[in-house]
Amino acid sequence: MTESSTHTTEWPLWEVFYQPSDGKPFEHAGSVHAPDAEMALLNARDTYARRNEGIVIWVVPSDQITASSPEDRGPFFDPANDKAYRHPQFYSVPRAVKKRK
């Protein structure tokens, strides 16, 4: 009975996100194991929000998350590199207007 791997049950993994307070964007907290979504929420609350760290929690099956790969960071985000005109600093305004602040 004490042999290894007689106890093989492992619950699936869920990623946990929480909203720290009203109006704030959700943050990744970590992960939990749980048999279903409902239990995942309860486990996430007990693990990551014992001190009101969040007001809403999301749980997502970990295998449902698709992430960009760090090695491709260069080419993947490349399209953003040569569009300086997307930033306000690209534009000049009359001096008089600039001073007003």
Partner: protein
């Protein structure tokens, strides 16, 4: 095999103070060392519930019982943050746990000592959690992102653990003669094992240099231990507790407290499994794991059935 170019690039990232994330390239040895270190840390948090759990039913008041319950629950939480972090390195939690319950994985030796009186609970909070804070504050800046973030979360909660213990001990140390004796006796028993928590001296610590090179750690065992001693001496004095080391002296030049020889023979015998509580702790963990199996199974089956019902 990791190529030299990959290793150099990796080292450059570390030296730049960059954070390594789960999907980034990392040397196989970095991954292995992290799995070992993080899972040991996780096992320690979990087994750490046992010496304190021992006193929940016999806490001296309802207030102390609530505090102890909350603290022990936090320890479970810390274990889970760390298991969650370790899993990002591509290992399964079940394998980590079984490697510890049936295999050779280690946990902190401090939890192989018994808690004989309630004063031990005070001292665990003050000294053991105090030492853990010193270590974890450093680890919160670790080069591996998930490990650093887990430690950051832990540190936020750990200061409550330390403060509640210190407050209780202060109260006990200013109580009746019997209470004072209990408080001092607990400190006498826990002081040296606590200093051993930082691990062997730097000269006997084969992993340290590599872990520091890779930014997993930023300070050596001896540096951390010294930092802990320096701040604990003052705290002991403030509540009328004597640290059981006649060699403890302040060095004006270095600004540090020098301390006596640590009983390393005892340390190695506890690490090898011959501490006062090693067998008991392993037995309790195995029992919890095996007796929990039907719950894991039943909950999984229940979830499967509900999924089927939804589908039909």
């Amino acid at each position: 095999m990791d190529t030299q170019k990959q290793l150099d690039d990796f080292q450059k990232r570390i030296d730049n103070g960059e954070t390594i994330e789960p999907k980034d390239w990392m040397p196989e040895r970095y991954r292995k060392q992290l799995v070992r270190m993080m899972s040991q840390h996780a096992h320690s948090e979990i087994v750490g519930m046992l010496p304190e759990g021992n006193w929940i039913t016999r806490a001296p008041s309802l207030k102390r019982k609530m505090v102890l319950l909350a603290k022990v629950q936090d320890e479970a939480g810390h274990g889970l943050y760390l298991y969650s972090g370790t899993e990002t390195l591509g290992v399964r939690r079940k394998d980590l746990i079984e490697d510890y319950i049936y295999g050779n994985a280690k946990y902190s030796s401090i939890f192989n000592y018994p808690t004989l009186t309630y004063a031990d609970i005070c001292v665990i909070g003050w000294l053991v959690d105090g030492a853990a804070i010193v270590n974890q504050t450093m680890l919160a800046k670790s080069s591996y992102g998930p490990y650093a973030r887990a430690n950051l979360r832990i540190c936020k909660e750990e200061s409550f653990h330390k403060k509640q213990g210190y407050e209780m001990l202060a109260k006990m140390a200013s109580g009746t003669a019997e209470q004072k004796r209990m408080a001092q006796d607990a400190v006498n028993r826990w002081w040296w094992p606590t200093l051993m928590m930082f691990g062997p001296h730097d000269t006997d610590s084969p992993n340290s240099a590599e872990l520091i090179k890779w930014g997993v750690k930023t300070k050596t065992n001896d540096e951390l231990r010294q930092h802990f001693v320096d701040r604990t001496v003052m705290e002991a004095e403030a509540i009328g507790i004597t640290l059981p080391d006649p060699d403890l002296t302040y060095n004006e030049e270095t600004g540090h407290w020098e301390f006596g020889d640590i009983p390393w023979d005892e340390f190695w015998s506890v690490v090898k499994g011959d501490g006062p509580m090693n067998r008991e702790r392993m037995k309790a963990r195995r029992k919890a794991y095996e007796e929990g199996e039907w719950v894991r199974k039943a909950a999984k089956e229940y979830a499967r059935k509900r999924e089927l019902e939804k589908a039909s």
